[in-house]
């Protein structure tokens, strides 16, 4: 809502308070003022000029040579390019020395050989938005519609010496979608009176009811319909003051009839509609729900197909307006219109909202109906419009109005105790102060002991419960005066859950290991959604996506993380290590929430370590990432419970990928991206993992228990085993671990050999076995006994031969 500071003064005395001061007060007590615009900022030297002569510029087809009286000295010659400039017009002249917005200084100039002493201006050149300039002036200069004095300050005449407060209204404050509503608010803040307009209409001796009848078939949608008839109207421009106020409010002037309805809309917040009575096609107004498939061509010349959820105004046969949204083209007021049927109605929000949404039509009217108008202003607004039509459109107002009235207006009555007010706010406000606050808001109150009963005016439909009253008291009292305390009473222990704690540990661990945390989007396209998914279900789809690329929810994090790798690679970041934790979404039954699982994914590429001047460089490989993962598992107490099993995963290198199994259950995978996919995504050799973080963090582990420091020495035996190439290290170490019994405490690989010195198809893996007994010093015999079991087992189960 744009509020003109000058216009507002018609209703509230603002003497002694500047527009910025007012803005600050309004902001602090309820409505955010998002800006204060000074309309004539940086402008000077603009006067009214009278075009005495106009002729074609001798050397330019599109230029006019004008002789203009600017109210001082001799008339001056001005060259003007506007197509609509003509002799006899009163226009805005920027004299030599004038300044226009953007610090544009007007100087004496020669245009195609002809002298020009100033400039005849369009409204746009004064900083008015094009969409607010009346159509007749939108392509040229502005011409004053009424008598003005040559040489007068043009900015003042155009009310450009005004300041506009831009209110950021929350949906509950629809009451401030009108100048009167803002006036009540400002008056309450400043503790002043509101001066309401008092329409005076002298009707002619003809009755409106002889011209029109009104029937409402849908009173639940339209509880009150008021029609007035105005005869002998002369359609023409509205007075300048009205045009400038409409422009200040963000409305484009059209003609006096339309402007008056818009002016009332802005003043009262009550939408009005003017029909051309003679084009209505009947003498009746019937308001009803539209029939399914019925059509109407609205003022914007669009043909609209309606449903039974839309409300229409009809002439008894066909729709003449889409109620509360837009009028019909068939009954539009035109230049030749003489009799106007004026509609002022109270429509309920829901059908208006529906129509506005279905037809993509948001008008000033529909916006107000959707949020609720004041039922008590319907008649007043009609009277005020009739008054203005008489004054500024030569109209003759017919006696009375024709109404269909099923409206029951009951103002809300809410009671509250002083204790409740102070209890919620944490203040010690007295009953006198509370009463005073409501008086300023012009709410009627009655006090009985500790309780105050408030009758809320219908303009404030947002106030229905005690808490609403608390807010009114609080905001007018001033939130600045509320003390600062901390919650008292029963407290709760503050802590992270085990899951949250562990997740933080995972993050810190991965970061210490060199990975950066990334955060990517959950919405993606259908192809990416299931790529690398651990659980390939049909992705969860948005009903109305904004784009194909953000149309479904992800089932895996990796596709997005790889995008990030690609983005960074393309920007000279060759060595990248990233991880992300976040939800993936698994569809379940129709109409049920999807299952959300937290995943952990990582991607590394380029060099893992480098220390150039010492000649060290280590590129990423499978074992680098596996090492990171093993460290993480160790940190979570899961060493030994997670197995890496060679696996084939879509999009992954078939020979360099393993599935992760936690207690035999698959929880994810690690490996290299398939070279084809790497190429497709423009990636270098990239290693990744994605796994269920939930599974990792929710795995139960034994509580940490101290183990005594060994007091006896351990004995280490190294063995090199020659096996077929297909036998994997994990398999051997499993066999060794099982066979070694209690004494075998540690098995580690320390060498791998594949080469000429071995038979074709063979490899040698060397293990270091550490034996240890916490109770005593081991004897050689005991170790030998255990060790032989190991050798037997590997021979028997894996065909392993000790390498000689």
């Amino acid at each position: 809502m744009f509020v003109s500071y000058k216009w507002l003064q018609e209703y509230v005395d603002l003497s002694g308070i500047t527009a910025p001061e007012l803005a600050d007060k309004i902001t602090k007590s309820g409505i955010e003022v998002e800006g204060v615009e000074i309309l004539n900022e940086g402008m000077k030297g603009l006067v009214v000029g009278h075009v005495l002569e106009r002729e074609q510029h001798p050397n330019a087809d599109k230029l006019n040579k004008c002789l203009v009286d600017v109210g001082e000295g001799e008339p001056v010659q001005i060259i003007c390019g506007a197509p609509n400039v003509d002799k006899g017009q009163h226009v805005i002249v920027a004299k030599v020395g004038a300044v226009l917005p953007g610090n544009f200084k007007i100087k004496k100039a020669k245009l195609r050989g002809e002298e020009s002493n100033g400039m005849i201006c369009s409204l746009q050149e004064l900083g008015v938005e094009s969409k607010l300039v009346a159509k007749e002036f939108s392509e040229g200069i502005f011409v004053f519609p009424n008598e003005v004095t040559v040489g007068d300050d043009a900015l003042e005449l155009l009310s450009r010496d005004d300041q506009i407060l831009e209110l950021g209204l929350t949906p509950n404050r629809a009451d401030c979608l009108s100048m009167l509503g803002v006036a009540y608010e400002v008056a309450a803040i400043l503790g002043k009176e509101v001066k309401l307009p008092k329409p005076e209409v002298s009707a002619i001796n003809e009755s409106a009811s002889d011209y029109i009848s009104v029937t409402v078939d849908a009173p639940e949608d339209n509880p009150l319909y008021v029609a007035k008839v105005i005869k002998n109207v002369k359609v023409g421009p509205s007075p300048l003051w009205m045009q400038t106020r409409l422009m200040a409010a963000g409305v484009r002037p059209h003609n006096n009839v339309v402007d008056i309805t818009n002016y009332i809309l802005m003043e009262y917040g009550q939408p009005l509609h003017a029909f051309d009575y003679d084009r209505l096609g009947s003498k009746e107004i019937v308001v009803r729900r539209a029939q399914q498939g019925e059509t109407i061509t609205t003022l914007d010349d669009a043909k609209r197909t309606l449903t039974t959820e839309h409300l229409v105004i009809t002439n008894g046969k066909e729709p003449v307006a889409l109620a509360g949204v837009m009028g019909g083209a068939n009954s539009e007021v035109e230049t030749g219109t003489t009799t106007v049927l004026l509609e002022s109605a109270y429509f309920v929000g829901a059908p208006i909202r529906k129509a506005s949404k279905d037809h993509g039509l948001r008008s000033e009217a529909s916006a107000r109906y959707e949020k609720g108008v004041d039922p008590n202003r319907v008649r007043a607004a009609a009277e005020r419009a009739a008054e203005l039509l008489a004054l500024y459109a030569n109209g003759e107002v017919l006696e009375g109005s024709v109404e269909a009235d099923a409206l029951k207006v009951e103002p809300a009555v809410v009671s509250i105790t002083l204790d409740k007010i102070n209890g919620v706010l944490g203040t010690e406000i007295s009953m006198d102060e509370v009463q005073n606050i409501f008086a300023r808001l012009q709410f009627v109150t009655k006090v009985e002991g500790n309780e105050i009963t408030v009758t809320v005016p219908t303009r404030r439909g947002d106030i229905t419960i005690e808490e609403d009253l608390v807010e009114e008291v609080g905001r007018i009292y001033g939130y600045d005066y509320i003390p600062k305390t901390l919650p008292k009473g029963a407290s709760t222990p503050g802590k992270l859950s085990d899951y949250q704690k562990k997740r933080r540990i995972v993050r810190r661990y991965l970061e210490s290991a060199g990975l950066f945390q990334a955060v990517t989007y959950s919405l993606t396209n259908e192809t990416k959604a299931t790529q690398f998914a651990l659980d390939k279900r049909e992705p969860v789809k948005l009903a109305m996506p904004m784009s194909e690329d953000r149309s479904v929810l992800r089932l895996s994090i990796l596709p997005q993380l790889l995008e990030v790798v690609k983005y960074n690679s393309a920007r000279q970041n060759d060595s990248i290590a990233l991880y992300e934790t976040g939800a993936v979404f698994l569809s379940t039954e129709q109409d049920k929430l999807p299952e959300e699982k937290e995943h952990l994914a990582a991607a590394i590429t380029g060099l893992w370590q480098q220390h150039p001047w010492q000649g060290e460089k280590k590129a990423v490989d499978y074992y680098v990432l596996k090492g990171v993962l093993e460290g993480l598992l160790a940190r979570l107490g899961l060493t030994g419970r997670v197995e890496f099993r060679q696996a084939t995963v879509d999009g992954m290198h078939p020979g360099r990928t393993a599935n992760l199994h936690l207690d035999n259950e698959k929880i994810g995978f690690v490996g290299q991206i398939h070279p084809n996919v790497q190429k497709e995504l423009d990636l270098k050799e990239t290693y990744v993992f994605e796994l269920s973080l939930k599974a990792l963090l929710e795995a139960e582990i034994a509580p940490l228990q101290y183990e005594s420091i060994p007091r006896y020495p351990s004995i280490t035996r190294d063995i090199a085993l020659v096996v077929n190439k297909e036998v994997v290290a994990g398999q051997l170490s499993d066999i060794i671990t099982k066979a070694g019994g209690n004494l075998l405490r540690e098995v580690s690989v320390f060498d791998l050999y594949e080469g000429d010195r071995l038979e074709e198809g063979k490899k040698s893996i060397a293990f270091s076995l550490r034996y240890f007994d916490p109770e005593k010093t081991l004897t050689d015999e005991e170790v030998t006994k255990a060790h032989e079991k190991v050798l037997d087992a590997v021979k028997e189960q894996a065909g392993a031969v000790l390498r000689g």
Partner: protein, 345 residues
């Protein structure tokens, strides 16, 4: 004989003095103090001396021996020290060459902000409540006093999946979920961080996905002054002890009264500048007293219990705290951006 001993001492000391390396010193020791050395030789002639002179001469010989031995020892120590110094000097390295880099990553700036806020509130007795990102219309809207057709639903155009299921538009559903779980009994203090989604075109200030942190306190006699005090603690911790806060009335369907909290602009200290658009204040978050309908719908007796709630955007907080100028940076994950958040002030 006596003179010979004195001469020997003289000679040896001079030799020691002149010696330049450990080997020479060792030679001197062997030649003077060894079994075949001159002192031993001299002492061999002791038999010729009288019984009176013999002990005297013996003592003198020992003294000479000691003096030489001591001189050798001292010289040796000096030389060893020099030797070590020489060796160390030869081991000198260029201490200005760069060290072996320890590869580390760090938190995403949004996680950094979220954890900082979590920790602050954990210290004040809050727990962290997390919930689904895909929500039912009921928890996202209806339970928060936003029935179907409510005009405020316009404020947050949403991504629906079905008519009843959507991507949550705020973290507030966790208010309703948490209260329901408590079955209308006992105090609540929670912080709910998480991702939320709205139908916005991505640009410098809008993102279809962003983070939110919500706080909820429910109890007997929770007052608006408690909200103000809590937000004051938060603002000072996050933005500096010298920041002031102000509450401005606002509107949210799930709180009544509703407020927005501003902090005094740290660029101009409240005087007004371009960052605060001349107002001296910067908007940080929305808050209010929990609407009685919200309490009642979740099973809390609004006559007995009151509460406050607040919600904020970590993106905006990081923007204000670190001067980040484009919301898209958070989701593009340019490593050159991420890296900057490794420092801890």
């Amino acid at each position: 004989m006596e003179q010979r001993l004195v001469e020997l001492q003289q000679e040896a000391l001079e030799g020691i003095k002149k010696a330049t390396d450990l080997k020479e010193i060792n030679d001197i020791r062997v030649s003077y103090l060894g079994k075949k050395g001159p002192i031993t030789e001299v002492l061999k002639g002791m038999g010729k001396l009288s019984a009176e002179e013999r002990p005297k001469m013996g003592a003198l010989a020992n003294e000479v021996r000691d003096v030489i031995a001591k001189a050798i020892e001292e010289k040796q120590a000096v030389m060893e020290e020099e030797e070590v110094a020489k060796k160390l000097a030869s081991e000198t390295i260029d201490v200005t060459l760069p060290g072996r880099p320890v590869k580390t990553g760090n938190h995403h700036p949004l996680t950094r902000i979220i954890e900082e806020i979590e920790d602050l509130f954990i210290g004040m007795g809050y727990t962290i409540a997390e919930g689904p990102e895909v929500e039912s219309d009921y928890y996202n809207f209806e339970a928060l006093n936003l029935p179907k057709g409510h005009p405020a639903r316009d404020m947050q155009d949403s991504f629906y999946i079905t008519e009843e299921i959507l991507l949550r538009t705020h973290t507030s559903p966790m208010q309703a979920r948490t209260m329901e779980k408590k079955e209308g009994k006992g105090p609540i203090r929670i912080i709910c961080p998480g991702k939320v989604y709205r139908r916005d075109n991505d640009d410098a200030t809008h993102s279809h996905q962003f983070m939110q942190i919500e706080g909820l306190v429910v109890g007997e006699n929770i007052q608006m002054s408690d909200l103000k005090g809590t937000l004051d603690v938060f603002a000072k911790k996050m933005f500096g002890e010298d920041r002031e806060i102000r509450l401005r009335p606002s509107f949210f369907p799930f709180t009544e009264p509703s407020v927005e909290m501003d902090i005094s602009c740290k660029i101009c200290n409240g005087k007004g500048c371009s960052v605060c658009k001349g107002t001296g204040w910067i908007e940080i978050l929305g808050a209010g007293m929990v609407h009685p309908n919200v309490l009642e719908m979740a099973g809390y007796d609004s006559k007995k219990y009151t509460g406050f709630a607040f919600g904020m955007g970590p993106e905006r907080i990081a923007m204000l705290k670190y001067g980040v100028d484009d919301i898209r940076h958070y989701y593009t994950n340019d490593v050159r951006f991420l890296k900057q958040f490794s420092i801890h002030e």
